[in-house]
């Protein structure tokens, strides 16, 4: 009897503990579905789609704004951005952009927003609160990736046909430098200490590591996977853990995410995910990493510590971008 009661108490305690844990760790994961004109919302604990937000046409780049209260998504074919509430999932407002906006990024201070417009060789600077275009910055052909230095001083924009990473002063919009990288650069990601920028080159099949201060190329990361031809290895999304130790690189139609040691730039492991993996998003606690798998219409969930794929979740058609919102201070 005692044992039984103890057992019951333990079970109750355990379930409370699970409940408490899940409360602490339940994030909303937002995935833009390029073909479906929707954003799927996934609960990071149950790993199930809990809601689908209807968006404008061709949602692609997706970020958070207004201290995590907003999710901002580029709706490329409508030539604007849309803002939704991360808690109620309701539409809040439109933000202007240039033609065919692709990847937005926020200034470290929370405003303005910089968005690459793939169709006009410009980066548009948008005030997200006033909802106005502050200025346009001319860049290379087909601007794509956007990176922001942790100190908020440097903006890095990649252009797909110019094959360069453009270093731009985030305050004056003056060109600092233009660094040649491999063919069709996609994503530019700063290391957390701001000392390096990692630029993926989709067609070149490499990640170029650039020293932020000197703009010298420190090295190039190549990927080799048994049984996969070089042509299929097409790096796109890059995410680096907050401790600056581990990078995750999505390899497109190679259907793998590479785990790279940042210090040595050596590939530690390849994780098999869904088809044509493009973008990556950590949970705020960096326990999980979500990947968008375009042609298999799903999202793979990677356990970051274990470096293992733990689940795949069906979302809309052609999932493109992903961002995970932290729990809100105003949540009850």
């Amino acid at each position: 009897m005692t044992t039984q009661r103890q057992g019951r108490v333990l079970a109750l305690a355990a379930s409370l503990l699970v409940l408490a844990t899940s409360n602490a760790l339940a994030y909303n994961v937002f995935v833009s579905n390029e073909k479906d004109n929707t954003v799927s919302v996934i609960d990071s604990e149950t790993l199930e789609v809990v809601h689908t937000i209807k968006t404008g046409n061709r949602p692609r780049g997706i970020i958070l704004g207004n201290d995590g209260k907003w999710v901002i998504v580029s709706v490329s074919d409508d030539h604007k951005l849309q803002v939704f509430d991360t808690k109620t999932f309701e539409f809040i407002k439109d933000l202007p952009s240039g033609p065919d906006p692709e990847l937005p990024i926020l200034h470290t201070s929370g405003n303005p927003l910089y968005v690459s417009n793939e169709d006009d060789n410009l980066v548009t600077v948008v005030d997200i609160f006033k909802g106005i275009i502050v200025t346009d910055v001319p860049v290379g052909v087909e601007p794509e990736g956007m990176g922001m230095s942790p100190d908020g001083k440097i903006l890095v924009n990649t252009s797909e046909t110019t094959n360069m990473a453009h270093f731009i002063d985030a305050h004056t919009y003056k060109s600092i430098d233009n660094v040649l990288v491999d063919n069709r650069p996609r994503v530019a990601e700063f290391t957390p200490d701001g000392s390096q920028v990692w630029v993926s080159a989709e067609i070149g099949g490499t990640v170029t590591v650039i020293d932020t201060a000197t703009r010298k190329v420190l090295g190039k990361i190549n990927f080799e996977i048994q049984g996969i031809t070089k042509d299929a290895i097409q790096p796109v999304g890059v995410r680096i853990t907050r401790d600056g130790k581990t990078a995750f690189v999505a390899l497109g139609p190679a259907n793998r995410v590479a785990v790279v040691d940042v210090a040595t730039r050596k590939v530690l492991k390849y994780l098999l995910v869904g088809q044509r993996v493009w973008n990556l998003g950590f949970t705020p606690d960096e326990r999980l990493l979500f990947t968008t798998n375009g042609t298999s219409n799903d999202v793979s969930v990677i356990d970051v510590a274990a470096q293992k794929v733990i689940k795949s979740i069906k979302v809309g058609r052609y999932p493109w971008g992903v961002v995970v919102a932290p729990p809100r201070a105003d949540a009850n």
Binding site: D119, V134, T135, V137, V139, N183, K230
Partner: protein, 446 residues
């Protein structure tokens, strides 16, 4: 001979400097200095507190302000052979625009210059054209001697060889953008020629692989009367053998095209095609070999039994299609439409790839020296992003561009070859066309 130069490649602005000869018989030189300028579009406006204030400077150096002499000049010469004997295609939709190919060159010059403004390189385009191959060859030889080593040719196979041989002792390269002839890549290959146009066998293999995927293996082959049609039929036979298809019967469509247009015509065609197709052994598809597009379009929906048409009509293989939006193609198509006021055709694409190849080599080597640039394009390091979802490169053994080939109808993309499952030890792209072990090209082995 008519010679003209001007800042815009428009015949209307041509200035005759030499004794006049009939328009198409002479050579026209059109110089298009397509150095683009990028105005700063900064608009002052208030920013949120703590956010960076906008400034009016552009992020890029201003190309207009750049002193000419500080820029490395890289001139591209485009050579067009006016094929007077060529009949217009059947469909009004397929009649080539006057700037077919040239518009592709202009877009590539503009793309090259966008990168060039960061690297202080400026690309320009000169166009020479003639209906007389000898005149064209002589003019190209002269221009190459004057320092235009990058020749982009839209010419026949014979003229291409003449050009290649005329400049073989100089550091120059010729891009073949339109001749699909296998012989140019095989027995008659030249070290100074690069082929951005796919070979016939690449095109027929692209369709053949898709047919293998569909398991539509029994083919009835209809061959037109021209030498090109016979060469296309040769390529079809080779593809059929390579991928295990069976040609159940071949028929030659002897046809006098007459005038392209007549008021009426369908009444007779509706009768002629089914009777021509009567009595064939059982087949899955009809393969039409009609490179001039003079009768092939008569076949879909008019066959004796209901069968799809493939080859040069119906389902075709092509390096480019105006409706593809894959691989970032939308922006590429839009840029072209803004520049040319029409959709991009396969020849425009082939020319774009050629001019971009020079641009890419100049970007990577940071020189305009053909002694460095041309070997770089031949090296294993060279690769180009060309809106094909993977890098395109040149085959080291014969200078042929390897690239995915689109399998499409007139309106839409149907598939992209190589098809899944066609494996290769080097690159799956080499499952299309003649591969290295079987090549008859020896010039590159030296």
């Amino acid at each position: 001979m008519q010679v003209s130069t001007g800042s815009a490649p428009r015949p209307a602005r041509s200035v005759a400097r030499r004794p006049r000869v009939p328009f198409l018989r002479g050579i026209r030189l059109l110089s298009a200095s397509l150095l683009l300028t990028f105005p700063a579009l900064a608009l002052p406006a208030g920013a949120q507190d703590g956010a960076p204030a906008p400034a009016a400077q552009p992020a890029a150096p201003d190309a207009t302000a750049a002193a000419e002499e500080t820029f490395l000049k890289i001139p591209i010469l485009m050579a067009r052979e006016i094929r007077e004997g060529r009949l217009p295609p059947l469909s009004l939709l397929d009649i080539p625009p006057p700037d077919d190919g040239v518009a592709g060159a202009k877009l590539a010059i503009s793309d090259n210059n966008t990168t060039g403004r960061f690297l202080k390189q400026t690309f320009t385009l000169d166009v020479v054209q003639s209906a007389v191959p000898e005149d064209l060859v002589a003019e190209i030889k002269k221009r190459v001697g004057e320092g235009l080593p990058y020749v982009v040719a839209d010419v026949s196979a014979d003229t291409l060889l003449k050009i290649a041989d005329a400049i073989k002792d100089t550091d120059a390269v010729v891009f073949n953008t339109s001749a699909p002839d296998e012989v140019l890549r095989e027995e008659q290959c030249r070290v100074n020629v690069k082929h951005t146009a796919p070979s016939r066998s690449m095109l027929t293999d692209a369709i053949g692989q898709y047919m293998a995927w569909k398991q539509w293996r029994k083919w009835a082959l209809v061959i037109g009367p021209t030498p090109e049609d016979k060469l296309y039929a040769d390529a079809v036979r080779r593809t059929a053998k390579r991928f295990g298809h069976k040609i159940v019967e071949e028929r030659t469509f002897d046809y006098d095209p007459g005038s392209r247009r007549a008021d009426g015509g369908f009444e007779q065609v509706q009768q002629q095609i089914p009777s021509f197709m009567q009595g064939l052994p059982d087949h899955d598809v009809v393969v039409v070999a009609d490179e001039g597009e003079l009768f092939g379009e008569y076949f879909p929906y008019r066959t004796w039994i209901p069968r799809p048409v493939i080859g040069t009509a119906g389902l075709v293989a092509t390096p480019w299609h105006p409706a593809i939006e894959l691989w970032g193609g939308t922006q590429f198509q839009n840029r072209f439409k803004r520049l040319a006021g029409r959709t991009m055709r396969p020849l425009d694409y082939n020319v774009w790839v050629a001019v971009r190849s020079v641009g890419e080599a100049a970007t990577r080597t940071n020189t305009n020296d053909p002694k460095v640039l041309i070997p770089y394009m031949r090296s294993a390091e060279f690769e180009l992003a060309a809106f094909k979802g993977q890098k395109v490169t040149y085959r080291a053994w014969n200078g042929q561009l390897r690239q995915p080939i689109l399998v499409a109808t007139a309106k839409m993309l149907v598939s992209v070859s190589p098809q899944p499952g066609f494996l290769h030890q080097v690159t799956e792209l080499d499952t299309l066309g003649v591969d290295q072990p079987e090549t008859k090209c020896t010039a590159f082995k030296k």
